[in-house]
């Protein structure tokens, strides 16, 4: 398994606050990496830095060994890294299909993007079929349940033909049945050849899905390993207990 | 050197006025996420009301302050309850509120034109021509009085925002609009109140302006722009930030006279705006104006 995405000493400071503090991480081809940690640990900030939404304060980001830190969000999407948002952000006045078509038109390498409406339509429908929203393609995002909107977020991200997908709490807030479906969906995404980093609070989901788990606390990486190793790590337990207390 | 000192003093005095007019705009923007373009009309209208009170009823401009504050507070609340309330907020609604308040400004401008014609007006009191000496330079007395009133207003505002419950709530929302609902506050009343306070500050700024400068129905446009520059420079968080922003603008304008032809000094505030936006989108002081 080659290293697809790699971060070296990635940091993000807001004034004096070290939201992400010199975090090293990597993601291998075809892997699912779980990213957990208490509230405010810097998980979403790390995502934002990797996706280019905000520039890193320090550190390197490498995709296929090529430097990409400091790139704009859209350029990173073109290179093949796409994120979803913890609080879903559909384009409210675009139909569900059109939401996905935006990704098909603008994501990924120039040569692979949809060039025609017809092509974008087809790709959009195929992805909506994949996430289970095909019947609603012509409706608007506001008509979807939270689970539906999260699926739309995933479909729109997938439309950009990512090699790495950053999923920010796509399971959280769903009921048990929906959660189970979402977990299957994420497996399906991986089976399409997309490598995944997922932030998740729902432990069952993240532990079950992840090949490897990384734990952040106060911006620092405090543990890494498979689910059992991480769950047994005293520092992790302390971090979560400290959180609860 | 003498010129430099003189300009410096006039800049500081001007900054007081700038802070008052900017705070009115910034407060409304911070809490409601609406740029009140009618602010320009309010400043202009207040100048005319002050002029009317003085020329018709013989009321001294400075004694008219309570009247102006109350009148424009009520105007602001009515404006909010009458129209602004119905507009969508946030990114999508921004366009609509911008256009609507712009329309209100145009109507106010036209109204002033019909009532008072397009000629310049100025308020002349028996002390208009008095001047006093600061650090050896002679300064118009009215400018000093305006400065003192502005500072007192800002101090009062600061106390209101830091000591009272409502004031704290306003500040909290202005600093963190994401906090969304305000616990224990009647949101609509709270918004109306904020709009009223912001508008009455605009009114006060108009009054102070009228005691120093001549004005006509188009007045207020430049002041609106300058207020916005100050808000961008100073952030929305604190009175101190706004005051610093106002100082920066006032100094830039005053000293620009030394190097630029006079007709170009009007462009200074705009150039400053663009430069600051490009270099420090978060504002020079305090927190970001916009997420």
């Amino acid at each position: 398994m080659s290293r697809l995405l790699e971060g070296e000493k990635v940091s993000k400071h807001f004034g004096g606050l070290k939201a992400v503090d010199a975090v090293d991480f990597y993601l291998s081809e075809g892997e699912i990496l779980g990213l957990i940690g208490p509230n405010g640990a810097g998980k979403t900030t790390l995502f934002s830095v990797v996706a280019g939404s905000i520039p890193p304060s320090a550190g390197l980001l490498l995709l296929d060994g090529k430097q990409m830190s400091g790139w704009n969000a859209h350029r990173i999407v073109h290179a093949g890294v796409c994120r979803t948002h913890q609080i879903v952000r559909p384009f409210a006045r675009l139909s569900i299909l059109e939401n996905v078509m935006v990704g098909a038109f603008y994501g990924g390498k120039r040569a692979k993007r949809a060039k025609t409406m017809r092509r974008a339509h087809e790709q959009g429908i195929e992805l909506l079929d994949f996430v289970g929203l095909r019947e609603r393609a012509a409706r608007f995002p506001s008509e979807l349940t939270l689970a539906g909107r999260k699926k739309l977020e995933v479909a729109r991200a997938l439309a950009t033909r990512p090699r790495v997908l950053l999923l920010d709490e796509v399971v959280a807030g769903l009921n048990p049945v929906e959660s189970q479906k979402m977990v299957e969906l994420i497996r399906g995404v991986r089976d399409r050849g997309v490598s995944i980093i997922m932030i998740e609070h729902v432990m069952k989901a993240v532990m079950g899905l992840s090949d490897r788990v990384m734990v952040l606390d106060y911006g620092k990486k405090i543990a890494e390993g498979n689910a059992e190793q991480v769950a047994a790590n005293p520092e992790v337990v302390a971090a979560y207990l400290g959180q609860e207390a | 050197m003498e010129e430099v000192v003189r300009l410096g003093i006039s800049a500081v005095l001007l900054a007081g006025l700038y802070s008052v007019m900017a705070y009115g705009l910034g407060l409304i923007y911070g809490v409601l996420r609406i740029v009140n373009l009618a602010h320009a009309g309010v400043i202009m209208a207040a100048a005319y009301v002050t002029w009317l009170l003085h020329s018709r009823l013989g009321i001294d401009p400075y004694l008219a302050i309570p009247v102006i504050l109350v009148v424009f507070f009520i105007f602001g609340v009515l404006l909010y309850k009458g129209v602004v309330r119905f507009l969508p907020r946030g990114a999508a609604g921004g366009v609509q509120s911008l256009l609507l308040l712009f329309g209100i400004w145009l109507v106010m401008r036209n109204g002033a034109y019909l009532l008072f014609s397009g000629n310049d007006r100025a308020i002349r009191t028996e002390y208009s021509t008095h001047s006093i000496s600061i650090f050896g330079t002679s300064v118009a007395q009215s400018r000093v009085v305006v400065f003192v009133i502005a500072v007192l207003t800002l101090a009062a505002l600061h106390l209101f925002l830091t000591r009272t419950y409502t004031g704290k709530a306003i500040r909290a929302v202005a600093q963190n609009p994401d906090s969304g609902t305000i616990v224990g506050v009647n949101v609509e009343r709270f918004y109306a109140l904020t709009f009223g306070i912001g508008t009455s500050l605009g009114g006060l700024a108009g009054l102070l302006l009228a005691t120093i400068f001549a004005f006509n129905p188009t007045s207020g446009a430049v002041e609106l722009l300058k207020s916005f520059v100050v808000v961008v420079l100073g952030g929305l968080g604190s009175v101190v930030g706004i005051a610093l922003g106002a100082l920066v603008l006032a100094f830039a304008e005053s000293y620009a006279i030394l190097i630029l032809p006079s007709y170009l000094t009007a462009a200074v505030s705009f150039v400053l705006l663009v430069v600051v936006l490009v270099l420090r989108p978060g504002g020079l002081f305090g927190q970001r104006v916009l997420a």
């Binding site: 439309a159 | 109204g111 609106l224 170009l264």
Partner: protein, 359 residues
């Protein structure tokens, strides 16, 4: 019809093309069939030019959602540069217009590039400053603009002036096509995404900065050319009129009256505006700002889509239901009828406590 479809680019629906060709033919032959007096001729030519400018304003204000209160700056730059070129060189009209337009577009980029990058109302406020600063500079730069006394072009009444009708028509027709393209092609979808949520758009690969700059450039270009044609037709121009605040508002108003964000609304808005201006404002010159303001307030409060929205309402009374999109894939046919009005995104179900420390 099917034959036609095959020849057309995807974004052009065959019916729209038929309507376009028909409309163009009618407007083209109008002065040949009916002989206008020079007053009517002038009004119609003016309406064509303003329609183009209003559509260009709408690309920014409606398609991308960045309101400009300062398009007069580009109108003036284009107008004065073309006028100077026509005075000092022997260029044909259209070259002078295009040069003027390009200069106006570059000028727009100069100040727009930094301000468009920021979200919120920065751009709108900046435009107020830009147009004010530009007007001042233009008024004092007498060598170029003639100062407050303006400049006159050496164009006589007669055939040359008469032919401007068709130039203006070609120009408007071209801008109509561009308006269609910018809305109906893949670019239109990207622009809508930017308007809805800049960040989310960038996160799916839309280069928001690039597209906003490009739209501003095109908008400046068209408004600059409009300024050039206007100058050529009215022969006399002065900075107070070309760069004036009222000029900026007029473009905005045409867009808003016609329907912000619609494709052809601004054309409608421009015609209504010109008629209003000629018949109402000429009689009550003291009231025009108030009238503009009142129109803005009424439209925003009661029909944010302006005349287009009104027409749509009337059409709905007669049972018309606009199709938002038709999707046929395999044997499934999905049709969305009517866009829901001003969709409010539902409250997020994710509890706020989950929000992490963000920027």
């Amino acid at each position: 019809m099917r034959q036609l479809t095959r020849w057309l680019p995807e974004w052009a629906s065959p019916w729209a093309v038929v309507a376009f060709v028909f409309g163009f033919a009618v407007l083209y032959s109008l002065p040949l069939v009916i002989s206008f007096d020079s007053y009517t001729h002038g009004i119609i030519t003016q309406a064509f030019v303003f329609a183009a400018a209003a559509m260009a304003w709408n690309w920014l204000g409606g398609y991308v959602g960045q309101i400009s209160f300062g398009h007069a700056a580009m109108f003036g730059v284009g107008g004065f540069l073309s006028a100077r070129l026509l005075l000092t060189t022997s260029f044909p009209f259209w070259i002078a217009w295009i040069v003027g337009g390009l200069a106006a577009a570059s000028y727009a980029l100069l100040w727009g590039h930094p301000t468009l990058r920021l979200r919120g109302p920065y751009f709108a406020i900046a435009t107020i400053g830009v147009s004010e600063a530009t007007r001042l500079i233009a008024t004092y730069w007498g060598d170029f603009t003639g100062g407050s006394s303006g400049i006159s072009l050496p164009i006589s009444e007669g055939t040359a002036k008469f032919s401007l009708y068709w130039y203006a028509l070609y120009f408007m027709a071209f801008v109509v096509l561009l308006s269609y393209y910018l809305r109906k092609s893949r670019i239109g979808l990207g622009l809508l995404a930017i308007k809805e949520d800049v960040d989310a758009a960038q996160d799916v690969g839309v280069s928001a900065n690039y597209y906003q700059d490009a739209v501003l450039f095109l908008s400046g270009l068209v408004v600059g050319v409009a300024g050039g044609i206007y100058a050529s037709y009215f022969v006399f121009i002065e900075p107070g009129d070309m760069f004036g605040f009222e000029r900026s508002i007029s473009f905005l108003l045409m867009g808003v009256i016609g329907g912000v964000g619609t494709i052809l609304g601004p054309v409608l808005g421009a015609f209504v505006f010109v008629i209003l201006q000629e018949y109402l404002i000429a009689s009550y010159p003291d009231l025009y700002l108030g009238l503009y303001g009142t129109l803005l307030i009424v439209v925003i409060l009661f029909e944010p889509l302006g005349l287009s929205g009104l027409l749509l309402r009337i059409a709905r009374l007669f049972g018309y239901r606009p199709r938002v999109l038709d999707i046929t894939v395999g044997d499934t046919k999905l049709t969305a009828m009517e866009e829901p009005e001003a969709v409010e995104p539902p409250e997020s179900d994710v509890e706020p406590a989950r929000k992490e420390a963000k920027a």
